[in-house]
């Protein structure tokens, strides 16, 4: 291995004078196409996939059983009590909606910021967004109590001749999450059409040709089409960027517009958005690390990509930690006894265990990403992603439950305990999420092939025939002097 090759192969270098090769392993357009589309078209489905989907589909079944039980019995099957009327359903809703945000950040905001590395992970992250929003949408839907009139959430004429109250943040939520789900789906599908055309053109079976043919809507890579397509992509990115910031802001209004101590704060919108991106990146990483290994995508989703994600987790995790500190400062500085009680109670009251779990996972864990050795260590980062996932669920639990369980009137205080139904419903939502992820990686192109091709050195029409250099397939640099350490 010569010096140039090893320099380029360790693409986690932070030296700005050295070009970062985003795609490794000497890939060209042909091999990228083969690597990604063969997963869907050629390769035998791994046994592990069948085992995994059997488990996740069973969990999905359990989710629907739990929902059915809830429908015929009522919300009393959950651990809700008199002050804590918002329990796990809302916690899970905020948790899942937050996870979706990473996909839009990667697909839209990083696109506007010209972050080329996003192309390797954006398809996967966008798919995850849609599946997370599906899981999120279930919870408020089943939480309404009288599900048979759930359409009252929408401005649809009904027999009471009554319209929804547009001054309610819960109604804003319907519009924000609904718009978010729709726009994410349009964006995802638009991005996928050229890749579906690739699958159509490579498919050998008649059925595959027909299905991918219909999905590809006759895309033929015409540059006159690409011209408008790129414009549309830019416009969708420009629309999705303020949208994604608005969605979790609106979700935070559910809390912030209430009068309850611990909820009634102006810091909530930015704090929720940072937390959403933080949790979303952790979930993308949790799924991406096994997926890239199982499907041999290490040259496309390289350590450089994962390290960049870890840097975003570090940044957003620090924002979340800073927001926690600010909340406490304002609770003391604001001089409102109810507010300061709510925060002392949060940290030292009956939910202290949940609070300190949250702080450990969300504030302390991401700080380890200051160390490059941890940022580029697959096992270490995966463990940290799990911590962040747990911590961010607990954040929503702490906010929702600790404030409700001890409000203004001590005589009405009560401790919230989840029931088995609560737990099984939440576990079931993971089943649904993972089932959709598994179906996606089996039947759709999980890497945005056309977009990855645009960021390869050989895609530049003015670079001559220069190929991306290297034969590097592992994750551990073989030559440490190759320039990994700063």
């Amino acid at each position: 291995m010569d010096q140039t090759a090893s320099q380029i192969q360790d693409n986690t270098s932070d030296d700005p004078t050295r070009p970062v090769e985003l795609i490794l392993g000497g890939n060209d357009f042909t091999t990228i196409t083969e690597t990604v589309s063969d997963i869907v078209l050629e390769k035998k489905t791994p046994k592990a996939w069948y085992i995994a989907i059997a488990v996740t589909a069973s969990l999905t079944g359990m989710l629907f059983l739990m929902i059915g039980y809830l429908f015929i019995t009522g919300v009393g099957v959950w651990g809700l009590n008199n002050p804590v009327s918002w329990g796990w359903a809302i916690v899970n809703f905020v948790f899942w909606v937050g996870i979706g945000h990473a996909g839009t950040l990667i697909s839209a905001i990083l696109f506007l910021l010209r972050q080329k590395w996003r192309t390797s992970i954006n398809r996967f992250a966008e798919a995850m967004t849609i599946f997370a929003v599906i899981c999120a949408g279930i919870f408020p839907g089943i939480h309404v109590g009288r599900v048979w009139v759930v359409y009252w959430l929408f401005p649809i004429p009904n027999y009471e001749a009554m319209w929804p109250n547009f001054r309610s943040p819960l109604l804003w939520d319907v519009f924000a999450v609904g718009t978010y789900a729709t726009v994410s789906l349009l964006f995802w599908y638009t991005g996928m059409v050229p890749d579906l055309a690739t699958l159509r053109d490579r498919a050998k079976g008649r059925l595959q040709q027909i299905i991918y043919g219909i999905l590809a809507i006759g895309w033929r890579g015409s540059h006159r089409h690409w011209h408008r397509y790129e414009k549309a992509y830019l416009l969708l990115a420009g629309l999705a960027t303020p949208l994604v910031l608005s969605v979790h802001s609106v979700v935070s209004f559910d809390f912030a517009t209430a009068q309850l101590p611990g909820w009634h704060t102006t810091i909530f919108p930015p704090y929720f958005v940072a937390g959403a991106v933080f949790s979303g990146f952790a979930m993308v990483g949790t799924l991406l690390i096994p997926a890239r290994k199982w499907f041999g995508l290490q040259d496309i989703i390289t350590l450089h990509h994962l390290e960049n994600m870890n840097k975003i987790i570090l940044a957003t995790g620090s924002m979340v930690g800073f927001a926690y500190a600010t909340e406490f400062f304002i609770a003391w500085y604001g001089g409102n006894p109810n507010e300061s009680f709510a925060f002392v109670n949060r940290a030292f009251g009956p939910y202290a265990w949940a609070y300190w779990t949250m702080v450990t996972c969300n504030v302390i864990t991401p700080q380890l990403f200051w160390f490059k050795k941890i940022r580029v260590n697959l096992l270490a980062m995966w463990i940290m992603y799990i911590f962040v996932n747990i911590g961010m669920w607990f954040e929503r639990f702490v906010i929702t439950v600790s404030s409700l369980s001890r409000d203004f009137l001590p005589s009405s205080w009560a401790y919230f305990k989840p029931t088995t139904i609560d737990i099984l419903t939440f576990v079931g939502s993971f089943g649904l999420f993972l089932t959709l992820v598994l179906l996606f990686i089996r039947f759709l192109p999980m890497i945005a092939m056309a977009e990855v091709k645009t960021v390869m050195t050989i895609a530049d029409a003015h670079s001559g025939e220069r190929r991306s250099v290297g034969d590097y397939h592992g994750d551990i640099p073989k030559t440490p002097e190759g320039g990994g350490d700063r």
């Binding site: 718009t179 006759g218 015409s222 540059h223 690409w226 011209h227 408008r228 414009k231 969708l236």
Partner: protein
Amino acid sequence: MSAHNASGTVYGLLAEFDSPSLLFEAVTQCRDKGFKHWDVHTPFPVHGMDEAMGIRGSRLPFIVLAGGITGLILATLMQWWMNAVDYPFVISGKPLFGLPAAIPVMFELTILFSAFATFFGMWGLNGLPRLHHPLFSSRRFRRASQDRFFIVIEAQDPKFKLDETRDFLASLGGLAVEEVVDAADGAESVEG
């Protein structure tokens, strides 16, 4: 101007290239020849191709603007009419219609309608979905979505002359030049 061969109407001529840089040279020459009905087919958008082909702006942003304005107006009227006119909601003595509380829904519907306008506008301007196209009859063309780059000059172009244009395309240094035939048997033909 249409040309025929033994199997039917010639749709056009296809030239294949294996790298964006070769394609770029060739495209510039086609543009300078003054063809009108021609196109470039690539697996990904090649940077700088707009100028090389001489493609100018698109109407799409105006369609999106119109969509956004529609969404904004609709959201405003909907909230005002539903909460202040058709079924007045009196809550804590607040105004029946207040702009601050209406802004979230106005914002969301502006985005929603703009996104629909972008999506349907773009596919509409591109003439898609269109599942059949004469180019799909070429096996070689299947690599246009994978790893090869094509220039297609259509037979309906006023400057198209089968042999002359074929020689011109062959001179551009591509891998191959192919005659694309619009299926003549009628059964598969869309344009007749």
